[in-house]
């Protein structure tokens, strides 16, 4: 009984060493890749190119200081939390939605695919809505709970208490 167990423990240690080695070799590149992907996705969300201002999240709010702000958060969907990143235009008029992006979700595949489709018509019609006319949007048939989670996310983001309180000094 002792021998099989000790051999198995040795094997576990060996496997952990192999993993640690691979991790240390790949870590730098993986972090670079993830950072690049984040910049790309934020640029796609706000519809511009180039480097971003220094990242400064405060209560999940990041003022980009050009009339735009990013808000991140999560709302409850059908299969668990839907994590999102939302871009808001502060002007003209009241704050309104610029872009919505799902960063992680566990919704039903197929039914909730609209979450990650950039040109989805249901998501497209949310663009430009403020907290008032957002309420006129009907949920998506067949994906009621998921689309309700998206609407709640946008409402949450537009209701962020510090949204208008722009702080851009270093």
């Amino acid at each position: 009984m002792v021998k099989p167990v000790s051999v198995f423990v040795l094997l576990v240690v060996l496997c952990a060493l192999v993993l640690a080695l691979t991790h240390s070799v790949t870590r730098g590149r993986i972090e670079q890749n993830r950072a690049r992907q984040f910049v790309d996705s934020v640029n796609a969300l706000i519809g511009q190119q180039g480097p971003l201002p220094t990242m400064r999240w405060r209560d999940d709010l990041w003022h980009l200081c050009n009339g735009k702000a990013l808000i991140r958060g999560q709302t409850r969907g059908y299969g668990g939390p839907v994590r999102w990143l939302i871009a808001v235009d502060l002007e003209p008029g009241t704050p309104h939605l610029r872009g919505f992006q799902t960063s992680a979700h566990q919704e039903t595949p197929g039914i909730a695919d609209f979450l990650t489709r950039e040109d989805d018509p249901w998501l497209q019609q949310l663009r430009g809505r403020n907290s008032q006319n957002l309420q006129q949007v009907a949920t998506l048939t067949g994906a009621t709970i998921t689309s309700r989670a998206v609407l709640a996310a946008v409402a949450d983001a537009l209701a962020h208490p510090d949204l208008q309180n722009v702080q851009c000094e270093p």
């Binding site: 051999v7 590149r29 890749n33």
Partner: protein
């Protein structure tokens, strides 16, 4: 390395590709086969990752076969396969990130691919590393053949292209490898969707079996 040139070893390689083909003879690994084969580049990446994991697992288990107690062999095998799978995921994320974003889920579930545990348990744990390696190469080659056939057929029918986006795997110079059907006919969407995958997989299994069992009823 003399053993590698002996007939039984090359036979092992051939058997893995044809007579014991994991996809159309043993019907193993069908989930990734159907899910990832929407284009040649996806299929090739999964074939390379599965093949690498199978080769690593087969050789390691063969090297360790005298020390692994029979009593805990299955947990030990799964542990070894999971280690290689995790390494494959990390390498993919580091060196082919855009491809990682597309097929990461199916690389992660290589660990549950019965094809690999099957070869490790029924073959590699009773034989020398050279023979285990040859067996892994043959089986991986057979799986790759099935994946690439599906990937090529679905990409050609679904998008009207072949070898598109190969730069995701081979760097920017491979971006020009793409072949487009003359006249740009566009695509038949069903080939890219799951129902089309099932229909094409049926045709592939039938063709593969017909070629493998030539002369038999």
């Amino acid at each position: 390395m003399r053993t590698l040139s002996e007939p039984p070893v090359s036979g092992l390689f051939r058997d893995g590709i044809a007579a014991r083909n994991p996809a159309w003879v043993q019907l193993l690994g069908l989930c990734p086969l159907l899910a990832v084969s929407t284009s040649v580049v996806n299929a090739l990446a999964l074939a390379l990752a599965s093949g690498g994991v199978l080769l690593g697992a087969n050789i390691s288990v063969s090297l360790l076969r005298r020390w692994i107690p029979d009593f805990v062999r299955l947990p030990a095998f799964v542990l070894i396969i999971a280690t290689f799978t995790t390494c494959a995921v990390l390498l993919l994320e580091a060196y082919a990130f855009d491809l990682y974003l597309r097929i990461a889920l199916f690389v992660q579930i290589i660990v549950t691919n019965c094809m690999i545990l099957g070869r490790v348990e029924s073959f590699a744990s009773h034989t020398s590393p050279g023979r285990a390696g040859a067996d892994a190469l043959g089986t991986a080659g057979g799986f790759a053949l099935a994946l690439l056939a599906m990937g090529a057929a679905r990409e050609l029918m679904g998008r009207g292209t072949l070898f598109a986006n190969m730069d995701l795997l081979f760097g920017p110079s491979a971006a020009t490898w793409q072949l487009t059907l003359p006249g740009d006919p566009g695509g038949l969407l069903i080939a890219l969707l799951p129902p089309g995958a099932f229909i094409l997989a049926g045709l592939l299994l039938g063709t593969g079996r017909a070629l493998t069992n030539k002369g038999q009823p």
